[in-house]
């Protein structure tokens, strides 16, 4: 092999692009260029932002999923101030239906948002009362106003057809 040919080969070895990308030297291997870092930050931020949108959108998608339409009972069987227990959307989710003083019907999940005890209707104070830690929720909105709970009870959407009441959905928050 001629000397100049050898030199040419050494030169081409040094020039090749992949050798720059995969250097043998420890420092060059660990060196991060400004461009690489900006790329990483930009793509990382985009990924996190995108993930946030996805997470924010998931509950809406879940809501869009059809919940069953379940018959609760007859409206006439519930007097003013009376309450009735039922389960919705599955047999494992206890709920409570209350007829308010003005005659309107409202329904909430019976699971207290504090530590999941069952709330009951307290007619004297016109509240949904959790006996475990004395939590109180308003009957009109399901908002907590006393005791440890901080989040409102999930509201069950109702539909009345003639005398019959149906549960058609759940509204969280």
């Amino acid at each position: 092999m001629a000397d100049n040919e050898k030199d040419g080969c050494v030169a081409c070895k040094k020039k090749s692009r992949w050798r720059e990308d995969f250097p043998v030297e420890w420092e060059s291997d660990n060196y991060i260029t400004r461009r690489e870092m900006v790329k990483f930050l930009a793509l990382g931020s985009l990924t996190i932002a995108g993930a946030n949108f996805v997470l924010a959108g998931l509950p809406h998608l879940a809501k869009a999923a059809q919940l069953p339409r379940t018959r609760i009972g007859l409206a006439s069987s519930l007097p003013v101030g009376g309450s009735k227990l039922f389960a919705y959307p599955t047999e494992e989710d206890p709920c409570i239906l209350v007829r308010q003083a003005n005659g309107d019907l409202v329904a909430y999940s019976q699971v207290c948002t504090h530590l999941s005890c069952a709330v009951v209707h307290n007619e004297e104070e016109n509240a949904l009362f959790c006996p475990c830690h004395h939590g109180y929720f308003t009957v009109a909105e399901g908002r907590p106003y006393a005791g440890p709970p901080t989040r409102p009870l999930p509201r069950i959407k109702l539909e009345q057809q003639g005398n019959e009441i149906f549960a058609i959905g759940v509204e969280v928050g």
Partner: protein, 211 residues
């Protein structure tokens, strides 16, 4: 930084004097003691013309200026630090392909099947980078493996320390020195097997192949 730059600025270099090796394997034992690869020696003790001679030769990594093991690594797992020490394979990268094992002219890298990774001598980088001597050099009773200054070697040894090798057409410069007679300036390893040079009785490859 060039290959000859001493570690840690202390002027310490590694020297191998094969003529002093007595084959006691203390270096291998000491190497195994190291916590970074406990139980596995990174030093190989070669036996030269075993039928006729008791000559042995310790083989540590020579830390080439242009490490061919790193050049052939497809996984980018072997790196050379600024002080010229070629490190063992990076565990998250090594794919156990054994390219380096085949490429190294000194036969240093060894593939460990049980961990599917190549392991090789890194001149006890944890020790030498803070000014301590490598494990093998601390125990060698005959001074075949020495970690000291060049001045010290020139003052105390008869031979001369060189670090240039010729393998066929390829010139290899290393960080580790070997002590040879004063007349020698470069070690020619004739590549008889591939017909590059004519048969020589003292060809290194032939000597190693002999049993």
């Amino acid at each position: 930084m060039t290959n000859g730059t001493p570690l840690n600025g202390l002027g310490m270099e590694f020297f191998i004097d094969h003529s002093r090796c007595i084959g006691c394997r203390a270096c291998m034992q000491a190497c195994e003691e190291c916590d970074t690869h406990r139980g596995v020696s990174m030093i190989h003790l070669e036996e030269i013309m075993r039928a006729d001679s008791v000559q042995t030769a310790p083989q540590v990594c020579m830390h080439c200026e242009d490490p061919i093991c790193a050049q052939v690594c497809p996984a980018d797992a072997i790196k050379k630090t600024a002080d010229g020490v070629v490190q063992s394979s990076l565990k998250p990268r090594c794919i156990g392909c054994s390219n380096c094992v085949l490429a190294c002219p000194f036969g240093v890298p060894k593939y460990k099947a049980e961990i599917n990774q190549m392991m090789k001598c890194d001149m006890c980088y944890d020790r030498t980078s803070i000014g301590k001597r490598p494990m093998c050099a601390t125990v060698c009773p005959s001074g075949a493996l020495t970690f000291t200054t060049r001045e010290n070697i020139e003052r105390t040894r008869q031979g001369v320390a060189i670090r240039e090798w010729q393998f066929g057409d390829e010139v290899v410069r290393t960080k580790v020195n070997v002590l040879v007679p004063r007349s020698v300036h470069r070690i020619d390893v004739t590549v008889e097997q591939i017909g590059r040079t004519k048969t020589d009785e003292y060809d290194v490859a032939t000597l190693l192949a002999g049993d």
